[in-house]
Amino acid sequence: MSWIPATDADRAAMLAAVGVRSVEELFAAIPPGLRMETWDVPAGISEMAVREKLGRMSVRNDVCSTSFLGGGYYDHFIPAAVDYLTGRSEFYTAYTPYQPECSQGTLQAIYEYQSVICRLTDMEFTNASLYDGGTAVFEAAAMALRVTRRNKVVVDDSVNPLYRRMLETHAANLDIELVSGRDPADAACVIVQNPGFLGTVRDFTALGEQCHAAGALLIVSVYPVSLGMLKTPGAMGADIAVAEGQSLGLPLAFGGPYLGILATRKEHVRKMPGRIVGMTEDKEGRRGFVLTLQAREQHIRREKAMSNICSNQALCALRALVHLSLLGKHGLAEVAAACHAKAEYLKSKLGFARLLNDGPTFNEFAVQLPKNATEVASALTSQGYLAGLPLKSVGAGGDNDLLIAVTEKRTREEMDRFAAALEEVACS
């Protein structure tokens, strides 16, 4: 059971070349008392048996229910070509492009990824990816501290509560004052999210002006698919745009790998964390791409680096690029329009519940049911529905509040049946 090609004869020849009698001699530097004798690791099983075992485990997970579950992570259509192209092993088995001449595929792809993200957000610079939406919020806040040399970070209630908790955890040992609200006075930044966690769509242009008057940065966390329709962070005057990029061609995957997006304006690019690809040329004038501004990074700057990030989510960035290239300018707009129209349709069918949003919504909205939302959602699982996210479970609402998401994958018929089922369970 192994992927080791060495035969016994190879091993013997290599030991002879090294000048030792056994492999054991090569481990002589480890003090004898510290060598491992036994461990509780089972014997290996064949490829066939591994696939059988994991296949059985995979079918204990429900991916067949009609889903209205979102909460920051959405079940969007992914074109078949995304898997096939990003599954090419010249991409996925390559390393970080530190040797640019033999990594032009990676480097040009990241340059193109940076370009589509800038076009989507109306920002000027973006990095080659961060881990996910929550760590992007942390990195953006840390960047704002570097830019403003202040230590107060203001987080609006519109921000995903999981991001907020991740921010608190990552910043636990730093001199950061985390406060709620939108007041930019003395703050390094104000962080908002659009659409908000409960789905409400806002224009933060005026807040951006207030932030800049107070010397603070505006950080806007966005849902990339919504930018097929909604006003961009760049147009709102955001200094940093961040996003969870999962909706751009990444499967839900029980939480990852996802894609952390961080984009900014030119004046802040040297304070930005993560790798960046830039265009240049060789001696013969041929266009090429390299990692640039590396003096910001940990492998050069060590404890003075902008961030500790090394491995990122490059393959996920490639997925986003391929996905957006296949959808195209009009395709993304059509997906956004479908998500919005379908969510509005479902909303119109839920007259028995009280809508909690205080403004327009995109593809997700919150309702207060006549009954406990967790009990309702639980009852609906047996009818083949994931009814949504009971907001109490993430500390973002009361017992009866339910967050409902709709993507382009849901049909009118599914929504009609779901609305009826929800009404029956919630109102009986």
Binding site: M1, I4, A6, M14, G19, L26, I30, W39, I45, G71, D75, A81, L85, S89, E90, T93, Y95, T96, Q99, P100, E101, C102, Q104, G105, A109, E112, R119, E124, F125, Y131, D132, G134, L162, R165, H170, A172, D175, D203, M229, L252, A253, F254, G255, E284, L293, R302, E303, S307, L315, C316, K329, L332, E344, P360, E375, S378, T381, L386, S393, M415
Partner: protein
């Protein structure tokens, strides 16, 4: 090669069914002024574009990749196959957010539970947590655990983390982000942590020490027991950077060596792909004393049912859910297949291969240190540099010969460093051919140095102007209205 934006012809690759509900509109002031200028091509144009880009890349599947400190081993296709199972890849993470949905994700929760148990056992730790999304994220998690431990014990004065000068740059960067002062400890002439200087740096303010073992010189820290004793004497915790775990897997375990907290690089030791730089996965392992502080929520098993609990003194959420779950799943498949005997052989063959390369190259290149190495061997190209051929020239000449370059100019402690890590998944024939190429290059240093300085010539572009890139900072083809 053209950019994808230069190939746009207003064609459509993907079309959708007509929307089956009434159209809805949002107020114009909430909408974008014009559509995002995304590429518009037919599907075959998109497919050819990215296929051609892939052909301008080098992966482990096409070439030997002896990149020191990166463990570029073969990425088993078994792992790719199981990661594509819809029961995993389509699963919504919020099913973990409330107990009423837990029955819908028992298989995935079992993967997390079983993998964490196996990782802990493999490293001799009390428990592991798969959440951190990369090695550096694992480091930050580990240092935050150390901080939580000291905060809990009232050690407010402990403000320093010690890091050897041979450490990866992520170590000091992670410690700094966790709010610590970083003090560097020099290596001695044997390439090991200098015990006297460590003793001099050790005092009651030290919260922890971050060590890589074997270290980035490819050498096992033979004084590890003494280092652990010195650290624990002042209640400083010992952090194990798992970047080089491949050397010792199945031979000795960080937990048994006295480490309190560590990270694993699943994309190194456990065969998951590097993906052009990521996604990787950097689980943490902890000893008993750090158990109460692990990030939450954690998968627990009661009466055969898997559910979630947050440890009492948890540092909080490092990730929204289970980190790079599909990467962890690949590592689980890897461990299940290799099992006890297979994993033990990983460390043995990784070390034999590295010593074989050292034996074959030590006459042509000067070893950085005289000792037997573990999983990687370091040379200094200083003698070649005196003749005008630098480590970078040797690296580029290897690219022309069909090999990815070794790691160069790292660690910073070795001048003109060439760092070669063959891994266990390469055959003797591959290593022989690589060594032949290295020896040929060493000969050309005397006979035709200009050919080495002009390399690479077989690639789509030659050496690129990095100064121009940094000066012009052309990092995106912006929308016409911003350009």
């Amino acid at each position: 090669m053209q950019l994808i934006f230069e190939k746009c012809r207003q064609r459509r690759a993907i079309t959708f069914d007509a929307i089956d509900v009434p159209e809805a509109v949002l107020p114009a002031e909430l909408c974008r002024a014009s559509l995002a200028e995304l590429p518009e091509l037919s599907e075959i144009d998109v497919v050819r574009h990215f296929t051609h880009l892939s052909q301008r890349n080098v992966g482990v599947d096409c070439h030997f990749y002896p990149l020191g400190s990166c463990t570029m081993k073969y990425n088993p296709k078994l792992a790719e196959a199981v990661a594509a199972y819809p029961g995993f890849s389509w699963l919504h993470p919020h099913l973990a957010s409330l107990p009423a949905y837990h029955a819908k994700c028992q298989g995935a929760l079992e993967v997390v539970y079983e993998l964490e148990r196996l990782l802990a056992e493999i490293a001799g730790m009390k428990a592991a947590c798969i959440k951190p999304m990369a090695g550096a994220h694992g480091e930050l998690t580990g240092v935050l655990l150390i901080a939580a431990y000291h905060r809990d014990k009232g050690h407010a004065h402990k403000d320093t983390i010690l890091v050897p000068d041979s450490a990866h740059g992520t170590n000091p960067a992670s410690a700094a982000i966790a709010g610590y002062k970083v003090v560097e400890v020099p290596s001695n002439s044997d390439g090991l942590t200098d015990l006297d200087k460590l003793r001099a740096a050790m005092n009651d303010n030290v919260a922890g020490i971050m060590l890589t073992c074997p270290n980035t010189h490819g050498l096992f820290e033979t004084n590890i027991a003494e280092i652990a004793r010195m650290a624990h004497e002042v209640d400083a915790l010992l952090y194990y950077d798992g970047a080089n775990l491949n050397a010792i897997v199945g031979q000795c375990r960080p937990g048994d060596l006295g480490f309190d907290v560590m990270h694993y690089n699943l994309h190194k030791t456990f065969g998951t792909p590097h993906g052009m730089g990521g996604p990787g996965s950097g689980p943490v392992g902890v000893s008993e004393r750090l158990l109460p502080y692990l990030p939450g929520p954690r998968v627990v098993k009661r009466d055969g049912h898997f559910s979630l609990e947050t440890p009492e003194k948890s540092i909080g959420r490092m990730t929204a859910f289970f980190g790079n779950f599909l990467i962890a799943l690949r590592a689980y498949a890897y461990i299940l297949h290799l099992g006890d005997a297979g994993l033990r052989d990983v460390g043995r063959m990784a070390v034999l291969n590295a010593n074989y390369v050292l034996a074959r190259l030590k006459d042509a290149y000067k070893p950085a240190f005289p000792a037997t190495v573990m999983h990687e061997c370091l040379f200094t190209a200083s003698p070649q540099a005196e003749k005008g051929v630098h480590a970078i020239d040797i690296a580029k000449a290897l690219i022309d010969r069909g090999y990815h370059a070794p790691t160069i100019y790292f660690p910073l402690t070795v001048k003109e460093c060439l760092m070669i890590e063959p891994t266990e998944t390469e055959s003797k024939e591959t290593l022989d051919a690589f060594c032949d190429a290295m020896i040929e290059i060493a000969r050309l240093v005397d006979e035709d140095p200009e050919s080495l300085r002009a390399a690479p010539r077989s690639t789509p572009v030659g050496r690129l102007d990095e100064v121009k890139a940094a000066k012009e900072l052309n990092c995106a083809r912006l929308s016409p209205h911003l350009a």
